[in-house]
Amino acid sequence: MRMHGGDVAIVGAAETEEIGVLPDVSMIELHAGAARRAIEDAGLTAADVDGVATAGPPAMEVSHHLGITPRWLDGTMVGGCSFMLHVRHAAAAIAAGAADVVLITHGESGRSRVGVPQYGMNPASPQGQFEMPYGAVLPYATFTLPALRFLHERGMGREDLAQVVVAQREWAAKNPRAMRRDIVTVDEVLAAPLIAYPFTKDMCCVVTDGGGALVLTSAERAADLPSGARAVYLLGSGESAEGTMVSQMEDPGSSLAFRRSSAEAFATAGVSHSDIDHLMCYDAFAHVPLYMLEDLGFVGRGESGAFVAGGHTRPGGSLPMNTNGGGLSYTHTGMYGMFAIQESVRQLRGEAAAQVPDVEIGFVQGVGMFFAASGSLVLSARRP
């Protein structure tokens, strides 16, 4: 049994019943609410789960809250793409026999801030000494920082950021759970209030409350579950990181971590770009999908803007991308990666709000802690 190639399956996938503004639910209960729904979706019970992975609270806090005594734990925390890494690590554990049924949870009261730890900055850390004193603290003033260089090097402009928003809003308009659902024009996006030039409000993600969870097991066991016909198989994966400081990226116009982790995901899956029917690109801000389209190799250097503006990622396009509306329009609790995986699973199962026809293979690309970390998954509706 291998970790890749379809020997491990996602058999349960669910978000909290509600997402958006949830002032009456604490962070830990967002984890638990999503977990119960994912376990039920798999046709299993909490007693079947022997592995737990999460980011944020300690994995043992989540497992204890759910009444699970795990024999495998993973608390890998690399920001918003932690869950891509959890899927990858869970697959390795299942293939190695270290766990049989792994639960991966996310829950974040990102908007209402109920039951969350206090945000603490360490003034002695590298960021605390060399980035934060300049005001580079919150994501909209830090994660966004390399974007002007990316655009400048390619002869692109702010309209290219706006086009990402316009394209994804077309998907969000079809999704009743999306936070921002109004169709917008490039001019409207550019005229929205400035948050941090060149970014306007619509180019920045929504801030929400919500949770999501996944249940993984072997493809063999999946076949015996009531959810077996809806199982989604892991073909390949990759992870990488480039330190925690935006200012120290090897190239501000390209992410080394995206390039490394996506290349490994393609290589382990044994598929090429033309095999991908559906793409999720973690979009905390509008420039990130442009970096990803190029760094993952779906388009050449400098071609991402024209690709999006040309409608290729929109409904009916050749590479449907961020079909839930993305972090920009659907939801963004703080660590959006779980929701990108959820949408990929829904599309592969044929259960999405804005369903793309005939999705066989999906690619999910995550990013964490600004441009620090990267996680990539290749998922399939069928076991090869």
Partner: protein, 128 residues
Amino acid sequence: MKPQPTPETAPYWEGARQGELRVQRCGECGRHYFYPRPACRYCASRDVRWVTVSGRARLVSYVINQRPMPGMEGLSPVIALVELDEGPRLMTNIVGVEPTPENLPLDLRLRVCFQDDTPVFRPEGAAV
């Protein structure tokens, strides 16, 4: 937010107090590097020494922040990534210029200056 030097970074902040921008240079591969640490980030050599650099740089990228963190309203809204002539890139603020995109073309030549014992940069020729 005040940076809190560690034993490994203290010479950098000591330099800033004296109006000097200091980084480390590797004796093995010859490259300047940042942020400060006891071994070269490129070749892992521990044959490194502190040098005072020219303070000349170019503007790599920036944002003009409209929503400063509470308590940080006094900073320049221009949060920038600059590249020193010696190679290292660092985060900073751009001062001495009206914060508009027109005034901040990428690759603009910059000079270091110091505010509150912290290195910041201004366009070459702009008043301190």
